[in-house]
Amino acid sequence: MDNPMDTPKTYSDYVDKKSPNSPIFTNCLKAFLIGGFICSIGQLIFFFCKSKGLDTSASNTVVSIILIGIAALLTGLNIFNKIGKVAGAGSLVPITGFANSIVSPAIEYKSEGYIMGVGGKMFTVAGPVLVFGISASVIVGMIYCFFV
């Protein structure tokens, strides 16, 4: 057999062969179950708000606020990271992942102070999400205004 160190190509083939395959099926199953579970909690809160007479859009806002609050609290207690290790995208893709992405860096940079440390680093990940989300929504609004 050729020496795997010969070229970058053969080397990367060699590494691919030796490194264990990530168990993608199990990961997907865990993400499915936990992601579905988080959405179902949201749906329960939604039904509860509806039964109290709130309209659909207000109920959706309440669902977001409660799920974000729970996720922020669990991240602060260092429980969310343990769930996240098992769930992968299952806890990342729901709105809980957005809350987690705000609290995690904020705790990590706490030693830099409450204003520039916590207040500033909160948006390391959430900042780009808001920048792209809000900018895209402005573009959608403009397109709708001028072309529809």
């Binding site: 959405c39 893709v93 957005f98």
Partner: protein, 128 residues
């Protein structure tokens, strides 16, 4: 409990399945493409804005309820829907006002609870 009798269990099931499947798409992206989680979040929100802007995401919401609104694609679709509704009411100004207006509750909650949880938490020492 009166409340449990009002629950639509079929919607509950659809919510679980669709919400789970959206997370599976994210998991496949993580495992297959080595995208960082920050990029996944940005990708999902932007995708949600595009699908919401085209009006396609509303079908998913009608079918799956919170299974579609809780994932970040729903956050994005909500931004787009808000921008469009506000444009209908107040013209071009609405493009700037509408998105953040509908998402305001979520964003403010994330900032407030996020800050509160951060100042209460102890910075963890990484175990080697």
């Amino acid at each position: 409990m009166e409340f449990f009798q009002t629950i639509d269990w079929s919607l509950m099931l659809r919510c679980f399945i669709v919400g789970g499947l959206i997370c599976v798409i994210g998991q496949i992206l993580i495992d297959k493409t080595k995208l960082t989680s920050a990029r996944i979040l940005v990708l999902f929100v932007t995708l949600g804005v595009i699908l919401g802007g085209l009006g396609l995401y509303q079908y998913v919401i009608d079918f799956a309820g919170c299974g579609a609104t809780v994932p970040l694609t729903g956050f994005g679709a909500n931004l787009a829907k808000g921008a469009i509704t506000e444009v209908q009411n107040s013209g071009l100004l609405g493009a700037f006002v509408g998105g953040v207006k509908v998402a305001a509750g979520g964003i403010a909650a994330a900032i407030f609870f996020g800050y509160l949880a951060s100042i209460m938490a102890k910075p963890k020492i990484k175990k080697q």
